[in-house]
């Protein structure tokens, strides 16, 4: 069992997402620090990928910009090693299969373990393809996070039974990005998960306000927020880091 469990030890977990290297390496490290200071329980660090097919426009733009800044796997690793000196809460990587595979899956996953990354979220690795990564994740004590989607239906039990770390519940159809309303019946999904595992579950995709975060966390064990935070960075201007810190605090307090 990795450290991820600790993220769910103090009530509902708030999980912010940041794209590493966006808007630049320095600022993205500050964003992670401010999130940790303002109550984040676990941090999802995005390693930029050229073709993020599960992402909406906001995170797509952040990935592209980070890549333009030259932030690829090695740079991200440097950044995380630096952050790990003072950030104690669990951190996981969110990236695409090819980033891990091309680095050498074993080299990548053993590096995660060595630098203190607790889990790996790969949106293009469904249950059917996870074995090739799972073995290595077990060997190096890194949790491979599973997704459950509104369309998972008959698959939820199977996914839940073999889940580790936490389960990422996709709130709605489509890609990441803020939504006014989340209409999926999350409660039903969670109840099937609960019947099959004790692994906690958190809801992400489309959460834009503290109220929505509370609503989703009430139904599950936590809320994941990416685009709403990254949008603040994208809008730019003075005090971006403070604004992000404030929203993280508001989200955490709302849970």
């Amino acid at each position: 069992m990795s450290n991820i469990k600790k993220a769910f030890d103090h009530g509902k977990a708030f999980i912010p997402f940041f794209t590493c290297g966006y808007p630049d390496i320095e600022t993205s490290m500050e964003l992670v620090r401010t999130a940790a200071e303002n109550g984040a329980d676990l941090i999802e660090l995005g390693i930029p990928f050229s073709d993020p097919t599960a992402e909406g426009p906001v995170i797509q733009i952040s990935s592209l910009k980070a890549l333009e800044n030259g932030v690829k796997t090695d740079k991200v690793f440097e950044m995380v090693r630096e952050l790990r000196r003072d950030i104690k809460i669990p951190m996981v990587f969110m990236t695409y299969a090819n980033v891990v595979f091309s680095y050498g899956s074993e080299r990548f996953i053993s590096a995660c373990s060595e630098m203190g990354i607790d889990g790996l979220i790969l949106p293009d690795i469904p249950y059917e393809e996870r074995d090739e990564f799972l073995e290595l994740c077990h060997k190096y004590d890194v949790d491979l996070i599973s997704f459950v989607a509104p369309t998972s239906e008959n698959r939820i039990a199977m996914i839940a039974k073999s889940a580790e770390g936490f389960i990422y519940i996709v709130s709605s159809l489509g890609v990441t990005g803020e939504r006014k309303e989340i209409t999926t019946n999350i409660a039903d999904i969670v109840s099937v998960i609960r019947e099959n595992t004790e692994v906690p579950c958190a809801v992400g995709f489309g959460i834009s306000s503290p109220e929505q975060a509370r609503e989703m966390a009430e139904l599950s064990d936590g809320a994941i927020v990416g685009s709403a935070l990254i949008r603040i960075v994208e809008e730019g201007g003075d005090g971006v880091v403070e604004k992000v810190g404030k929203l993280v605090r508001a989200m955490k307090e709302a849970l």
Binding site: F49, S50, D51, T53, A54, G56, Q60, L64, L67, K72, T73, D74, Y96, A97, N98, V99, V100, F101, S102, Y103, P123, D124, I125, P126, Y127, E128, E129, S146, F147, V148, A149, P150, T151, S152, E153, N154, R155, I159, V170, L173, G174, V175
Partner: protein, 396 residues
């Protein structure tokens, strides 16, 4: 060949978001239900023969053969199909399958626009809604095809993200599919993507090699010695190869787009320059940098301008059953002009890549050998671009 869980050797698989898993499972179940269903196949055959103009001719290119002075060259005239390319074979199959599944809306990606036009055509015929995603760059290169799709009643969405070409159109079509699954079938245009797409597309395109075999036996009393086709994702090539895979005397050659050359960054020759990776739902070869970032690729041909290759081709390459060669823009344009002047046939610039390799290979082979070139599409759509390539300033 093992196709368990959609694998071709080590390639293939289903590397897609959980949101899409039940959609591809539903597609797989429907395909297994209908692929051997006599009624479905009769309906499809009727569409292919009476709507799409199959079987396509196997044409003996006598002037070209004599001019090159070597092996006998036949052209498989997929350019004479309705909508002007092989793409219609797959689209009619998938659209019919989608209809059986109760889907009322088709989405598709397109590069050169041929697959988009074919999908828009099938949607019009079946009374289905249709949205085609096309890289913004390609909408400029192939403006006429954009209007053609609109004329057929489809929406065309120009994709601005990434390199604004075919791979980005696939990204956007996949994103759209995750948004709207219930009534929508993603009509993928090549033998790529997650299982079962590479198998479905190959099966629907394999009519090409089935016909080549029958026609060649009828005309020549023997099998061809070489079958060649251009390869982007590789659907026309896998269609032309498939029924010959178990005939070891038939050499199979795929012609990739080298762009400005495989030693430059402006290339789309995946097997020549790519490495193993995971992208667009499959494990296969991809043009990418050392950190797995997908490379911006280039070819004069919008239809071959793709950084990956279908998983079955990747495996045919691994096991040495097919050879893959790279053809530059210059060679393809020369072949485009050569075939136009020599045979009075204007090939698609994609297909011209295969013609170019036939021009190299034929003179090295004895006269009793037979080469079949799959002429996957016609070149009307490319005339303006080739004119520009030659420095002519014309209105489209």
């Amino acid at each position: 060949m093992s196709e368990k869980r959609g694998r071709f050797g080590i390639h293939g698989g289903q590397y897609i978001p959980e949101t899409l898993m039940n959609a591809v499972n539903e597609l797989k179940a429907a395909y297994n239900r209908y692929k051997d269903d006599p009624e479905f196949n009769a309906e499809l055959k009727d569409l292919l023969n009476n709507y799409a103009n199959r079987p396509s001719m196997l044409y003996y290119a006598e002037k070209m053969t004599k001019d090159l002075g070597g092996a006998k060259i036949y052209l498989k005239r997929e350019d004479l199909n309705h909508t002007g390319a092989h793409k219609i074979n797959n689209v009619l199959g998938q659209a019919l399958l989608a209809k059986k599944m109760g889907k009322t809306r088709l989405i598709a990606e397109t590069g050169a626009g041929q697959h988009g036009v074919a999908t828009a055509t099938a949607a019009a015929l079946f009374g289905m809604e249709c949205v085609v995603f096309m890289g913004e760059e390609d909408t400029k290169r192939q403006a006429l095809n954009v209007y053609r799709m609109k004329l057929l009643g489809s929406d065309v969405v120009p994709v601005k993200s990434g390199t604004a070409t075919l791979k980005d159109a696939v990204n956007e079509a996949m994103r759209e599919w995750t948004k709207r699954i219930k009534d929508t079938h993603y009509c993928l245009g090549s033998c790529m993507g997650p299982h079962p797409f590479p198998t479905i597309v190959r099966d629907f395109q394999s009519v090409i090699s089935k016909e080549i075999k029958e026609q060649c036996l009828e005309k020549e009393g023997k099998l061809p010695d070489v079958v060649m086709a251009c390869v982007g994702g590789g659907s026309n090539a896998i269609g032309a190869f498939y029924n010959f895979i178990n005939d070891p005397s038939v050499q199979l050659i795929g012609c990739e787009a080298a762009g400005r050359g495989i030693d430059t960054f402006e290339t789309a020759a995946t097997i020549a320059t790519g490495k193993l990776g995971i992208f667009h739902g499959m494990k296969s070869y991809f043009c990418q940098d050392e950190f797995g970032q997908i490379a911006p690729v280039y070819s004069i041909s919008a239809g071959l301008d793709y950084p990956g290759v279908g998983p079955e081709h990747a495996n045919l390459h691994d096991i040495g059953r097919a050879q893959y060669v790279a053809i530059t823009d210059d060679e393809a344009v020369n072949a485009f002009e050569y075939l136009s002047k020599t045979e009075g046939v204007i090939p698609a610039i994609e297909s011209a890549h295969a013609v170019a390799y036939a021009m190299k290979l034929a003179p090295t082979m004895p006269k009793d050998k037979i080469i079949v070139v799959n002429l996957s599409g016609r070149g009307d759509k490319d005339v303006a671009a080739i004119a520009r390539y030659r420095g002519e300033d014309i209105y489209e």
